[in-house]
């Protein structure tokens, strides 16, 4: 049986080089980076090296990089940390601007703060293409706005957001403002394909994840501009300059550094993006052309090179997923049943495609290991599956 992995936005296969870079720190080099003896020294050194690799990728200072336990942790730190710091400065009810299509790590954190009365929040709507308008950010700025958090690219529909444009808008606005508006972006899905230079983007805080870039799970990065102060949300030792205390997970940090090496080279990144984009277009065109009642969700142009999200009318997404699983193909669905949650995807609902189309969507997310023959196999088996499920369906 073939096994084809088209769920790279959920997680990626660990790169062999990354795996090998991690191994020593799971075996002989097990020291605590805080220890003064040579065991500790080895761990300390590799953490520093990894920090340098990430700083290089983001175009920032090494001391602006914080390793955390996951991208969810980084998002929480950015939001909660900024809110707490603003409250400390006397802004009792800070205002946050975000979008309706953020990852739950951002959306749920802000909703929670809003619910307990700590913040005011504005959730910017997106059009059919799934892209936030910079002017909407501008029009919703208030006196007490302390943070704008907009993802670099969406995880479900791959919609690329105008981060650099929003960054430059906020820069202009901030000249005249007493309370500076900080800018955070979750760049987890974008990192493989887009330029993440923090100066070009004009961001103050940025989130990365290890396991979406062929690195290990359980490692996140928070970039924090030096002049920006955030309050810690957990307490303990001095690690990560008290922003994320706790003994460093040395092996995953080493893995993160090596994973970054794989995406750091711009030329290579562009070459890789082009290859994946070609496969993506082949998949999109093949499905839309050969299967009736199909619609691409999100903008075709403003899209990550690896994302395909299509709705199949009259069929429930989860049943397609299970049927594809039987054929050895792994995909995902934003729809109800599969995720253990009966609500349709908040992202598709925000596009205004309607609840029925949201329930019938499948996300195919490609990665660097996918081949043309895998896409061809997919295009061969999918029409039969849809035909069969439509025969069972009362809605034709």
């Amino acid at each position: 049986m073939k096994r084809i992995y088209l769920d790279n936005s959920a997680t990626t296969k660990i790169d062999k080089k990354v795996f090998e870079a991690m191994l020593p720190y799971l075996k002989e080099d097990f020291g605590n980076a805080s220890s003064l003896h040579w065991f500790g020294e080895k761990s300390y050194e590799i953490i520093n090296k990894a920090r340098g690799q990430v700083a290089d990728f983001l175009g920032c200072n090494i001391l602006e990089i914080y390793f955390t336990g996951s991208a969810t942790v980084s998002d929480n730190l950015a939001i909660l940390g900024v809110v707490k710091a603003s409250q400390k400065k006397g802004i009792t009810k800070p205002h946050i601007i975000t979008s309706a299509i953020e990852h739950p790590a951002v959306l749920e954190t802000i909703k929670h703060l809003e619910k307990i009365g700590e913040v005011e929040a504005t959730y910017l709507s997106v059009g059919k293409g799934g892209v936030v308008k910079t002017e909407d950010v501008e029009n919703n700025l208030k006196e007490n706005t302390v943070l704008v958090s907009i993802m670099y690219a969406n995880n479900e529909i791959g919609a690329i957001q105008p981060i650099a444009e929003i960054g430059s808008l906020l820069k202009t606005k901030n000249y005249k403002l007493k309370t500076k508006v900080l800018f955070h972006t979750d760049a987890v899905q974008a990192a493989n394909y887009l330029d993440c230079n923090v100066e070009k983007l004009g961001v103050d805080l940025l989130t990365l994840s290890g396991h979406k870039i062929y690195g290990p799970k359980g490692i996140g990065v928070l970039y924090k501009r030096k002049i920006v102060s955030i309050e810690p949300i957990i307490f303990g030792g001095h690690q990560e300059r008290r922003i994320w205390p706790g003994t460093e997970n040395v092996a995953t940090i080493a893995g993160m550094g090596e994973a970054i090496e794989g995406i750091k080279n711009q030329e290579l990144r562009i070459k890789n993006s082009e290859k994946i984009e070609k496969l993506r277009d082949r998949l999109i065109d093949g499905i839309l052309k050969n299967i009736s009642g199909t619609d691409l969700n999100g903008s075709r142009e403003n899209r990550l090179p690896n994302n395909v999200n299509i709705s199949f009318s009259g069929v429930e997404g989860e049943s397609i997923l299970m049927a594809l699983n039987e054929k050895g193909v792994a995909v995902s669905t934003g729809s109800a049943c599969a995720s253990g949650n009966l609500d349709p995807s908040h992202v598709l609902m925000a596009l205004g495609v309607g609840i029925e189309r949201a329930h019938s969507s499948i996300r195919f997310s490609l990665g660097k290991y996918n081949t043309e023959s895998e896409i061809n196999y997919m295009l061969k088996v999918l029409p039969e599956i849809i035909k069969r499920l439509r025969e069972i369906s009362p809605l034709k």
Binding site: M322, G328, D343
Partner: protein, 158 residues
Amino acid sequence: MPSIYSREIMKHFKNPRNVGKMKGYDGLGKVGNPFCGDVMEFYIKVGKDKKGKEIIQQASFLTLGCAVAIANSSALTEVVKGKTIEKALEITKQDLLNKLGEVPKPKIHCSFLAVDALGEAIHDYLIKNEKIIPEALNKHHQQLAKEKQEVEKSHKNC
């Protein structure tokens, strides 16, 4: 391929029995709605056994839904075949769970739809033929109608 579902569920999902609209059916039950991501039509044909008792001679279905919803519809068409109306009404949601194997908690909703659809098909048959409708069935029918209305009103609350 291994999946999160039992072998029995996958067997029915991959190879569903008694699919399709039934010509000349005696009862039709429609449950669910597209807003919740599942719609089910359950058809029955009623006949008589040797003792002259009314039995469900045939059943078929059409389902838009997840693998569990499809598998349950398929399994129920087999389970119900040859049962008297009374016995058919005694089939519980737990019976289907027992037959097909447990499902993850959020999916239990999906596995209950088929039993509801069968009940609705029997209700339809009894009404059309001016027969006495058991109190419990009538109550459940009204409950489903009410839920349907509410869901359609709010497009939510699946």
